[in-house]
């Protein structure tokens, strides 16, 4: 029943959200989940008071190959934007 998969989590600036989704579209990724958050990183604190300091977390459950492709597609954004991409192992239960 349980199918192994990867969970890719993208933490990034809120303004980047539409660009990340566009990359997902290009890769043919259908499913994702977005939530609003705040945080701190190399580029200082992003307290979420307004859109320019808000972050989002974008989660994608996908197969390993797609997860690599997502990471590769987001790499060009890294020098200019606050961005962290991590990947973990999960099982899809349904």
């Amino acid at each position: 029943m349980a199918r192994p998969a990867k969970l890719v989590t993208v933490y990034c600036e809120a303004v980047l959200e539409p660009l990340v989704i566009r990359e997902l579209d290009r890769l043919g990724v259908v499913g994702y989940t977005v939530s609003d958050c705040r945080g701190r990183g190399q580029r200082g604190e992003r307290g979420g008071q307004w859109r320019m300091s808000a972050n989002v977390r974008i989660e994608v459950v996908c197969d390993p190959v797609t997860s690599e492709r997502i990471a590769a597609a987001l790499r060009p954004y890294e020098p200019d934007y606050g961005l962290l991409v991590v990947r973990g192992d999960v099982e899809v239960l349904n």
């Binding site: 303004v15 609003d36 200082g44 604190e45 307004w50 859109r51 320019m52 300091s53 954004y77 934007y81």
Partner: protein
């Protein structure tokens, strides 16, 4: 001559700097800014119906042209005197070429306080000035990317995603709500406006006070970012508005504006954007460091205009414009 409403901004700054637990939820910030943009658009639209459109068209061309001088002055100053990279110089220039809705609103309040009249249609200029400077900023950034020579420049400009940029700029919520409000107000007229006026007119100044409180909190969170950007930017963020205001007064004089209208035009020129510009520049010129442009426009120029600039621009208008 200072409107007490600016004290709300100070309270917000105080709360932010003292790390109070006062936080205005992001959803409320969004709602307040939507309200302000719509309310300003509506008011302008209602007044538009009473105004000779031909005259407005003529003035608009002048106001726009003179307004574009501001980023064109700011860019080389930032680039050569301030030694900023071309991305940062272009982004900051775009912020100062564009305008601030809240600064404009506080200036309107200050005029009221001082008993000086103005035309509601000044909002038209607010709408018109918001976006061309952003496009200009992108052009400046891309020209900076180009290798020397005219051919390289042309090619650099071709590489801009103009469609996406235009979308970002023209369909950004600022323009959409201002222009949308303008059209609705124009169609509705006084009679259609009356039943929604308790919300969009009577509540305006109170909501503006709440927004200023929030702006103070946001500005305080930018204080640290600004500290790193040095003395030059601090000076720029104070001198540039004064220069821009002078251009505004000269333009107003040229166009035969009243004292109140002249003070508002000077304020528009002097104000720097922090709603439309940061979002648009972040997408269109991602190489620019937003801490610099937002730190200068929101952290320095905005409070400077609130507390010092607007009274000066009002004085300038009174002195140089024939009553």
């Amino acid at each position: 001559m200072l409107d007490p409403i600016v004290l709300f901004f100070l309270l917000g700054v105080l709360a932010g700097l003292s790390k109070s637990d006062l936080k205005i939820p992001a959803a409320i910030y969004e709602a307040l800014s939507i309200y302000l943009l719509l309310a300003i658009g509506l008011k302008g639209g209602v007044e538009l119906s009473r105004y000779p459109l031909g005259e407005l068209l003529h003035s608009s061309a002048w106001v726009l042209a003179a307004g574009l001088a501001i980023p064109l002055i700011a860019y080389p100053v930032l680039r050569h005197l301030g030694r900023f990279g071309h991305h940062d110089a272009a982004a900051i220039a775009a912020h100062y070429g564009s305008v601030s809705v809240v600064t404009y609103s506080v200036a309107v309040a200050a005029l009221g306080e001082a008993g000086i009249g103005h035309d509601g249609v000044m909002v038209i200029y607010l709408v018109l000035l918001e976006m061309p400077a952003l496009l200009l900023g992108v052009v400046l950034a891309r020209l900076g990317d180009a290798p020397a020579g005219g051919g390289g420049r042309l090619q650099a400009l071709r590489q801009v995603h103009w469609g996406r940029l235009a979308h970002e700029v023209f369909l950004g919520k600022s323009i959409l709500l201002l222009a949308g409000g303008l059209v609705i107000g124009y169609v509705a007229g006084e009679a259609g406006y009356a039943p929604i006026a308790p919300v969009f007119r009577d509540a305006f100044k109170g909501v503006l006070a709440l927004f200023l409180l929030e702006m103070g909190l946001v500005a305080a969170s930018r204080a640290g970012a600004f500290r790193t950007s040095g003395v030059f930017l601090l000076g720029f963020a104070i001198v540039m508005p004064l220069v821009a205001a002078a251009i505004g007064i000269a333009t107003a004089r040229q166009l035969g504006f009243s004292v109140g209208n002249a003070a508002l035009l000077a304020t528009l020129y002097a104000s720097a954007s922090y709603i439309a510009a940061p979002a648009a520049m972040r997408i269109a010129v991602p190489q620019a460091n937003p801490a610099l442009s937002i730190g200068a426009s929101l952290g320095i120029t905005f409070p400077f205009n609130l507390f010092v600039g607007i009274p000066i621009y009002l004085w300038m208008a009174r002195t140089f414009i024939a009553g």
